[in-house]
């Protein structure tokens, strides 16, 4: 007699091959993701004097240094935008991406003790690790408003509404890549050492300190394969309203980030079943 599957029934059996993603379950655990983010933020600024202001410090100093070296000395073109604004927008989004990427790829190993002791959809961990970066993003954005006021730039109001969308693309690519690297990190801890290096190099392959227009049309497509290219270029275009959105580059970014996300989380799900055993 075949037994029917009842409501609430959980079946546990050997898992083989690619697994589907249970979005309903993920949704049920959304509070846990919130608590992960909340915990990380609380912990990060405990016993610090200036607290969350540290989120401003890094992009601000990087911006100042870049402005000094690339803007002043190297006379880097910036599409007619004051270089500090130009580079700060790039840094804001780049920092969110790199934070999400490095945090999510280290997240499984960092939470090994929890993984070995309790069940919850494992995807919650890399996803919430990337979400933490949004808080830093929000705080550091205040500085952007300040710089723009200083240079008497009026932000493009319509452009503001694009930002969540751009953040979403960034989120997809950082989580996608992060999940993939997190799975590898569980088995090969080399990932830990490779990531900071990788991020550093990757930044120069992203138009953070230079505009896409500086690269010849021949290599533009190569640059567009990097999802952050479309995101950063679009952000500059829409926030300042100085030029039109390059939809071609943006669509490539969208497709690539979606691809990275799907590949990353499926690869994660495929390897997830071994995590507790080998971490």
């Amino acid at each position: 007699m075949p037994t029917t599957i009842e409501k609430n029934e959980i079946i546990i059996k050997a898992q083989k091959g690619w697994l589907r993603i249970d979005f309903k379950e993920l949704w049920n655990y959304r509070e846990l993701a919130y608590f992960f983010v909340w915990r990380e933020i609380k912990v990060r600024y405990k016993q610090t004097v200036v607290g969350v202001a540290w989120a401003i410090f890094k992009p601000l100093t990087t911006m100042l240094i870049f402005t000094f070296f690339f803007g002043r000395f190297a006379k880097m073109p910036s599409d007619g935008i004051p270089y500090p604004i130009f580079v700060y927008i790039g840094l804001l989004l780049w920092d969110y991406f790199s934070f999400g990427l490095s945090h999510s790829s280290d997240s499984m190993v960092g939470n090994a003790n929890i993984i070995q002791k309790i069940y919850f959809p494992r995807l919650i961990i890399p996803i919430s690790s990337s979400l933490i970066g949004l808080v830093d993003f929000a705080v550091a954005s205040i500085v952007l408003v300040g710089i723009m006021l200083y240079y008497r730039y009026i932000p493009n109001i319509v452009g503001i509404f694009y930002i969540p969308f751009l953040l979403f693309i960034t989120f997809l690519s950082s989580v996608g890549l992060g999940c993939f690297l997190a799975s590898i990190n569980v088995k090969y801890r080399d990932v830990r050492y490779v990531i900071p290096f990788f991020i550093q190099i990757f930044m120069f392959l992203t138009p953070v300190i230079y505009p896409v227009s500086m690269v010849g049309a021949k290599f533009k497509w190569l640059l567009a394969l990097n999802p952050m290219t479309g995101v950063i270029e679009t952000a500059r275009a829409i926030i300042l309203g100085t030029k039109d959105v390059d939809w071609q580059i943006l669509s490539v970014s969208m497709i690539i980030s979606a691809g990275l996300f799907i590949f990353g989380i499926f690869y994660f799900r495929k390897t997830e079943k071994f995590f507790a055993d080998i971490i």
Binding site: I10, I12, A14, L32, F35, R39, K42, K117, I118, K273
Partner: protein
């Protein structure tokens, strides 16, 4: 009859043991490559460094709603693996489980506790990770804090808590988890005796509430207390599935040889006190615990006599020798002390010629309550040598009670059968 709430069908779990470090790095691979350049090719053929190990093999059982099932077995028998699979931390290699209800698992007390966070913050995070909704935690927050007894420090980072306080807070969160199926690993082994009692009481309440509990423990008295049914695992297989009395006594029987005697190097390593190493006069040879049938034993029913046998050697003539035994509890408090010279016969044999002797102490039946007790032994040659074996062997007493009605006050240290008399002095006329 309703469907079983847990249905486990021929569950197996294989682990692959690598006889190398489990921590791979690229560097290791490169180094290995230099060490034996052809190793890469060789490995594929022989692969002798890997070995399969079945932590669980063909385990099937059903649990009905409301049952409280104990899982017992020696270390490595597969208890924790079973619980880990049931709580979906790891997946089985073969077989299938159906769970019909919300599962809460408690494999560790305080999973995810962060030392920097305050007690309050940790309650929320820990509760959430155990599967509680924020609303539920809000509602139960006061009860949780109350149960833990750390309300004064609730807004202090837990890194400033004593470890006992941390454990209490952590267990309290878990205690208010309300799943239909609760999986509990040996978590009661932590905390002080009073708190353990409180925890066991809470578990009992939970089970009375009609929830299903699977409880892994080495603590036989907790198992007897809590569980109606016991599954015994041995080498990854179910060796017994029966009522708890039968299973516990069988388990205890099997463990007869465990911890019932100590001798040789192991014993020597434990000797403390005033020792003349250059010119030894007395030495311990063996300490063992026997029951009234002279079988080695480490768990005694309260109605059995306990024999403590101390074998020692006098290496030359010893003018006066005393053997003392002290029974202590888990916190090393003295419960009972006795010495050879308490016995008149022994007083006359103060003096001993060189040779090997055994002194046996008979502890009468009906002496102790249900406790874990330890034996400390002193071998004393006044002014020459004084050898001490501190808590050298331990044993459990299971209190059976003196009538068929109850085994009341079983947790008292001394629970002897004493004479009672009640007299009627005067009838009150109404």
């Amino acid at each position: 009859m309703a469907n079983p709430i847990i249905e486990t069908k021929s569950l197996s779990k294989k682990y692959r043991i690598t006889h190398k470090e489990a921590y791979f790095t690229l560097r290791d691979s490169i180094v290995n490559c230099f060490k034996s350049p052809f190793g890469i090719f060789k490995k594929k053929r022989t692969d002798s460094s890997k070995e399969d190990f079945w932590a669980l093999k063909d385990v099937s059982f059903d649990v009905n709603p409301g049952e409280v099932v104990g899982v017992i077995g020696r270390n490595g028998a597969g208890k924790t693996t079973l619980l880990k699979i049931l709580s979906r931390i790891t997946y089985p290699t073969e077989g299938e489980i159906r769970l019909r209800g919300r599962v809460g698992s408690l494999l560790e007390v305080g999973t995810g506790f962060h030392p920097e966070l305050t007690g309050r913050e940790n309650i929320y995070f820990n509760g959430s990770i155990l599967g509680m909704k924020k609303k539920e935690i809000d509602k139960k927050f006061d009860e949780i804090v109350d149960f833990s007894g750390v309300e004064k420090f609730i807004d202090t980072p837990v890194k400033r808590f004593s470890s006992g306080m941390q454990v209490r807070l952590a267990f309290s969160v878990a205690a208010y988890l309300e799943p239909e199926i609760l999986l509990v690993d040996e978590v009661l082994a932590v905390g002080d005796a009073e708190f353990q009692k409180k925890c066991l009481g809470k578990m009992k309440d939970i089970s009375k509430g009609g929830r299903t509990i699977l409880f892994v423990s080495h603590n036989m008295s907790a198992i007897r207390n809590l569980c109606s049914r016991v599954i015994m695992l041995e080498g990854g297989k179910i060796s017994l599935d029966s009522d708890s009395e039968t299973a516990v006594s069988k388990y205890l029987d099997q463990n007869l040889t465990l911890g019932t005697s100590i001798s040789g190097k192991e014993l020597e390593a434990k000797i403390e006190g005033y020792i003349n190493r250059a010119n030894p006069s007395i030495r311990f040879k063996e300490i063992k615990l026997l029951n009234q049938n002279n079988e080695p034993c480490s768990i005694f029913n309260s109605n059995e006599a306990i024999k403590i046998c101390i074998t020692y050697e006098c290496l030359n003539t010893v003018d006066s020798l005393r053997v003392n035994i002290c029974i202590v509890d888990e916190e090393n408090r003295e419960i009972l002390t006795t010495t050879t010279v308490d016995d008149e016969k022994e007083v006359n044999s103060y003096r001993k010629n060189a040779g090997v002797y055994t002194s046996i102490c008979y502890i009468s039946p009906n002496m102790f309550g249900e406790k874990r007790l330890f034996v400390s032994v002193h071998l004393e040659y006044p002014k020459v040598e004084h050898l001490v074996l501190d808590r050298v062997l331990g044993f459990d007493v299971i209190f059976l009670g003196y009538n068929n009605i109850s085994a009341a006050f079983k947790n008292s240290f001394i629970r002897p059968r004493l004479k009672w008399e009640t007299q009627l002095l005067d009838l009150t006329n109404r």
